[in-house]
Amino acid sequence: MGRYVARRLLQMIPVFFGATLLIFLMVNVMGDPIAGLCGERACDTATAAQLKRQFGLDMPLWRQYTTYMGNVFTGDFGSAFNGQPVTQLMASAFPVTIRLTVVAILFEIVIGIALGVVTGLRRGRPVDTSVLVLTLVVISVPTFVTGLLLQLLLGVQWAWIKPSVSPEATFGELIVPGLVLASVSLAYVTRLTRTSLAENRRSDYVRTAVAKGLPRRRIVVRHLLRNSLIPVVTFIGTDIGALMGGAIVTERIFNIHGVGYQLYQGILRQNTQTVVGFVTVLVLVFLVANLLVDLLYAVLDPRIRYA
């Protein structure tokens, strides 16, 4: 186990460097950020040159990258063009996005798996068919449509919630945005659980358990569900990263100042430091989430052993 984890952690190093280098290059390809910084009117040459020096943009690209990486390892992610350190932006953005992700993942786990169990156990019944159709609808409607529709209905027409989220972004305010963010994944989780459950129902160990006369609840929860959840856990695990980085649309609709907002702003203003910094952290989140998922397999299925 320990050796496995160590090996995985070592594998993360090249992935980490490769990903950051790619992002660094991609942001730089977009062109000179100083031009955008000065607005409609070009900065005079002296100021532009000075700004370039200040942000280290006058150095060759490889120097910029090595300096940047060197700074990252000392905990300095540089500063945004408005003078705010990127670490400060992260400190304000990540808690918000983590809360949003937690709400979304909870929705996926609670509603997604519950619906999956219900439909998986009642295959072909009306409940199953209607849930299937519903998931199809949710998957095919883009997130921004769901988001704007819920915002208009719940926020303006019925006034149940506030259409936008305040800067504090408490859990209560994030329930609707979280649901919107989770909606598509939720539908996938339902379908995955349903299929996996329906397959395992016919397996030998379930038949044995039924023959032993175990209570139905115990069969479903302890034997059937535990074995059927492996693909679902994989999906949710990778989804954590996707939800954190991919919340740009949802965050925009509900005016949430999270990671998506900072990334969007950073890309628009061609702020290398912000974009690379946030993406670096997201890459780390992805890698760690993947490792955790793999370790979770062993817990769910004792047949899986890591050496």
Binding site: D44, N82, K162, P163, L268
Partner: protein, 539 residues
Amino acid sequence: MRGVARARWAAGAAVVLLALAACGGGAGGSGGRVLSSSWGDPQNPLEPSNTNEVQGGKVLDMIFRGLKRYDPKTGKAENMLAERIDTTDSRHFTITVKSGWKFSNGEPVTAHSFVDAWNYGASLRNNQRNAYFFGYIQGYDKVHPETGTQTADTLSGLKVTGPRTFTVTLGQKFSTFPDTLGYAAFAPLPRAFFTHHSAWLDKPVGNGPYAVESYTRGAQMTLRRWDGYPGPDKARNDGVTLVVYTDSNTAYTDVLAGNLDLVDDIPAGQLKNVRTDLGGRYINTPAGILQTLAFPFYDPKWNTGGARKVRTGLSMAINREQITRTIFRNTRTPATDWTSPVLGTDGGYKPGLCGKACEYDPAAARKLIREGGGIPGGQLKITYNADSGSHKQWVDAVCNSINNVLGNDRACVGNPVGTFADFRNQIGRHRMTGPFRAGWQMDYPLIQNFLQPLYYTGASSNDGKWSDKRFDHLVDRANAESDKAGAIRLFQQAETVVRDNMAAIPLWYQNGSAGYTDRLHDVALNPFSVPVYDRVKVG
């Protein structure tokens, strides 16, 4: 036993959910006579000489008052902190500051408050984006050389002569210089700005009717009325909360739901519903913004006598009336000169100065373009940035209009650039091969501001590098002219040079728009399309 445990768990979850729901809310709505208003994250640190966009300008307008202030209705420059600004030769000015003015931290506003601020703004070392505003003052080339390091720390043209008086010497004659002093870059600064700079940036202190109570960067700023404000325009409400929105659509929805009081940028997509949504609580007033198509005069193809005819022909091939009506729903007005209606005819706005060259006339347009040798390069590519505004729609409409006139579907196409930053970058590197979007938002309501920075040889915003000796000469004469009416006449003559060469095609004058909830009264936009917050009544 198991059942009991599960019931407990469910009850616990229910309690947590309820608690969460109770946590929510409370933040958006503002109590008392405080209004909330939409805001965008300022791009640069909130220093007066470093703020060149409207979102930061919004705050500066609330927390600062300068020597002059532009009347929110008429746009006329009127004395605010200035008691007198005297000159005999339009080059040496003596400025007297009124007594009794203070910053909200109690420090009195003196001549030093201005001179130190201006020296800070001009100095190359401070990286101020608006430094060139001080370029008229003598000694600017020493503190802000084009290359190399600065050889002086202060402008030699600024001298403090008394506690409340100082003199300004300009590098050349500039008769309307006093009227430029209402621009935010010329605001006075307290000592704390220099001594505790980063603390000041976290919570700016000024001398305006509002004081900053708290500022969370990138999220919101709360401003409260400053009761000790000595000026005549005390705030009529208790404060303003500025909330950062990423998307103006969300801000608009929030106003509909009553979660926000004022949105000062109605998204283009909502313009057709806005009257039914908000009824009379929608304002749409002219702002000092002119949209034009600029040309790359550094490209020899565009810098010929024939190309001049082509440009005029293109101008006549654009059906401005139809585009402003259908796409912008009359939030823009077809342009007939190169200034803006907010200047007023006294200020130099001259409707119809463009004459036939700005009227839609397909036959004449075809003729001129043919005479001029056709479109240089065979196809017209209008470059614009696709990331903001509704530029794609109008560029496509302009191209359609031109294509219809020429009877050729491929005569004109839009050329989108992904981000504004890249767009500016390509312009800066002279990569344009055809016309490109150019918008001009005035800094101060003077005709000089609509002409000199854009068309004078080597001027700061002359992106197309247009150069004309006659134009430069007329502008120089206008700046030296001490009689205001005479100066405006000369500027208008210079404008006819722009017209005869069609240095840029004027498209339309842009309006400012805003919507608000029924809690607010007396909402208005100033000529810079910023809400006049201190006049708004709440409740």
